[in-house]
């Protein structure tokens, strides 16, 4: 019975992995083969599909981090903290790619690598907060203390999200708001967002399972002591 369940689980995992990687591969192929070349920026415009998709994933990860931290604070159930930690790390990863790809695109579009305008600055600040949370978590061994620290820092870090999202509307800057796009470009962008979201969601789930495994190892070690 256990072996059949284990085989069924393996098949389920393989199907999920297969689906996610198909979506991601489809997105990448669409970006390079289907999307038309933009008239002004040429091939550099294709960075947009990566940049926007990964930023969206990062924002979703931050929201998940905040929600799971709040859930942990209310229930003290460590499972919520594992999801929060996984979301924090994936969010940090996404914003690393966002800042780098954005900087490369900015160099092509505006001729500068960086400018201190509202959206870019708030994105950098959020990245610093996420990196700080990861560092703070890594410096604590006890599971409950780590969860407490991570939850409080996550809830404080969420304060930057409204500024990041509304920055282009509240503060006039150079970051594009909603540029006009060719219908094919719009389709590719949607496909890219779907593919990257599926990939990062799977990554978050895998990391959460690993954090759970690490907690179990720690618990068994402590019981042995």
């Amino acid at each position: 019975m256990r072996i059949t369940q284990s085989v069924a689980n393996t098949w389920k995992q393989l199907i999920v992995f297969g689906l996610v990687f198909s979506l991601l591969a489809g997105a990448i192929l669409m970006i390079f083969l289907y999307a038309p070349t933009e008239a002004t920026m040429g091939h550099a415009q294709r960075i947009l599909y990566l940049h926007v998709s990964v930023t969206w994933c990062g924002l979703a990860a931050c929201l998940a981090m905040g929600a799971c931290s709040a859930a942990y604070m209310m229930s003290r159930n460590l499972v919520w903290d594992y999801w929060s930690q996984a979301s924090t790390e994936v969010g940090c990863l996404c914003f690393t790619i966002t800042l780098a790809s954005g900087s490369l695109w900015a160099h092509e579009a505006w001729g500068v690598w960086w400018t201190w305008e509202a959206r870019l600055t708030s994105a950098l600040v959020l990245w610093l907060m996420l990196a700080g949370i990861c560092l703070a978590r890594a410096s604590v061994d006890d599971l409950q203390s780590r969860a407490r620290i991570g939850a409080v820092l996550a809830v404080l870090a969420i304060c930057d999200l409204p500024i990041l999202i509304m920055a282009t509307r509240w503060f006039r800057g150079v970051h594009p708001i909603a540029p006009q796009m060719d219908p094919r470009m719009r389709i590719v962008l949607l496909g890219a967002m779907l593919g990257f979201t599926a990939f990062f969601a799977l990554l978050t789930r895998q990391r959460r399972s690993q954090i759970d495994l690490a907690a179990r190892v720690l618990t068994v070690e402590r019981m042995g002591e």
């Binding site: 990566l50 780098a100 790809s101 990554l203 068994v220």
Partner: protein, 54 residues
Amino acid sequence: METMVCAYVFAWAVVTAYLTWLAVQNGRLCRRLDELERPAKPGLSEKRSSSKAA
């Protein structure tokens, strides 16, 4: 063109580095869990049963 390639290569490198780190962590944790859950050595269990009999 080069800028686009740089952006995608960077993204791929960052994600690969993270996945590699996850894989290494996974291997280490699974090995550690196996060590902890492995039953005690035969010599040790015989000593325990003989001391119990006494």
